[in-house]
């Protein structure tokens, strides 16, 4: 791992007031990184404010530092720190951004455009890995809440150490977190295992609807309007549900259809490399990436199945 550059350490050491921003709809890595860095800077007697998009996922609310989020902002800070944000637009920010001498960007996204006055961007499993290294470089003592926050960032962004963004450094850093707090089993269950009753029932309904399209490794799941009303209430159905199809042996492409209004579906598509499904999303006015995309669909679901099958077959022939 690269050494944290001296100018980043100086920027944090030599200034007094910090505003921490993270991306919209913050996840475990955004919240964990913010809290670890914020609490660390407070230990150095810095003044730290957080401006964070709400609501925060229920499973993250256990971190006590969250009570310090979104208190009144100053008009002026020494430094605005942007964590886990690949672009400025992606950051959640107040309508009028306070003045600052400098913006400091710390991030692990490949797509980061280095839009800060100072930038430290490295492709790691999680931004929390970089924050850990910064905290160590600042000689800050990591307390158990900071350890929990860092573990939360790393564990959520790496899918409990299962994704391909995990490196030797990821495990090396987590090994050090175990020297601060010896057991993360309860936290791991909270982050990965537990679902509330409704989320669990929604998962069951999705599996119940799971269908493998004839002669193609394509999974389709449909959550009808009533099911979403009964168990969801909202359309924020987690990636977990979209991934059920992908976790079925042999499946390469999954479509999850959520009926937002009668006959109108919000479609989430997932594909395994090297298959690319973003074009069908663009065709229907949606967006996304090669392996994960979404769009709105009205019409005959059998036609959608046929389209997915065509995409698979066209690319299969290329990839063979």
């Amino acid at each position: 791992m690269k050494k944290i550059p001296e100018r980043i350490i100086e920027c944090l050491n030599d200034n007094q007031s910090f505003l921490i921003l993270v991306h919209q709809k913050p996840d475990g890595d955004a919240i964990g990184s913010a809290i670890a860095l914020g609490k660390g800077l407070k230990q150095l007697n810095k003044s730290v404010d957080y401006y964070i998009d709400l609501p925060i996922e229920e499973k993250l609310l256990f971190l006590p530092e969250i009570k310090c989020f979104n208190q009144s902002l100053k008009e002026k800070y020494d430094i605005i720190v942007l964590l886990d944000c690949s672009t400025m637009e992606f950051a959640f920010q107040p309508e009028v951004l306070p003045e600052a001498k400098l913006t400091l960007v710390i991030d692990h996204h490949k797509s980061n455009v280095c839009y800060g006055d100072l930038n430290f961007v490295e492709i790691t499993g999680a931004t929390a890995e970089i924050v850990f290294r910064i905290i160590k470089a600042l000689n800050i003592k990591i307390d158990t809440e900071m350890a929990d926050a860092l573990f939360t960032g790393i564990s959520t962004d790496t899918g409990s150490f299962q994704f391909s963004n995990v490196t030797a450094d990821t495990h090396k850093i987590v090994s050090e977190l175990y020297l601060i707090k010896s057991n993360y089993a309860h936290l791991s269950r909270l982050l990965h295992g537990e679902k509330n009753y409704n989320q669990m029932k929604m998962t069951g309904a999705a599996i119940h609807s799971l269908e493998i399209i004839k002669d193609a490794p394509i999974a389709m799941m449909i959550l009808d309007h009533q099911t979403i009303k009964d168990f969801g209430g909202t359309l924020n159905i987690s990636d977990d549900v979209a991934n059920i199809g992908q976790n079925t042996s042999g499946v390469i492409i999954t479509a999850l259809l959520k009926e937002v209004n009668t006959g109108e579906y919000r479609v989430s598509i997932r594909a395994k490399a090297p298959f690319d499904i973003h074009e069908i999303a663009l065709k229907y006015g949606g967006g996304g990436h090669e392996r994960a995309a979404g769009f709105t669909f009205k019409g005959d679901i059998n036609l959608l199945k046929k389209e997915l099958q065509d995409i698979y077959e066209a690319q299969r022939d290329t990839h063979v």
Copy 2:
């Protein structure tokens, strides 16, 4: 972590022929530990045989060394190595055990009774962690299959680094495995994410039946005979399914009822510490431990619900 004692290293270095045994119904840690040690010893030009209980779980079959399992045994070995077995009875062994100068036990179970001539027992996340340390002490080069085998052992026995048996050493060792092979994402998905279509449908049926007993944090799931016939074909329903209840927020006790014959249920019970459910299993002629037990039940399911509720209430009052 304790240094591997010199006499263990000498035993492996100074002898020539080895028979490797592991426990009955071998899991990822048993298979992974056996292959890593076996291939390691072969690198030192030792002769190695494996005698392993079949069938091996489908998800483990990717390891090429499995083709060397259960070839003809010699009448005599220098050393019989027992891996991941807490007692000799638990080991899978041929009807007539070949002669040997010495038995060497390597294990991570707290309950290990040190029944070998030589024993190295340490409470770690997985036996594979100890095997890794032994291989390093023997100066053996770890190839990618051995790295996969060790990763399989550690990842499966720690629930993808989520259980309370994980330590700083666990992550330190895995960090070193990433220096041998840089990506375990595909393997992780194979070990943890994937279910075949029928297993997935069985999971869905279990969630569909999930019920939280009124006024108590007790989950009950029932898989009826037809569902088991449709999707299971066997009663080997994985722990995953039994754990669905336990992974529902707030639940302390889960009962999974599998209808083996009309009106006759195989019941699997799980409890969270400090609750203890093994007595109800004993009462019905079953067995198990404090937090996981099983028995056969015929009769009125409402009575079973009532009994579970009573157990919860009696212990709740003790634990408050």
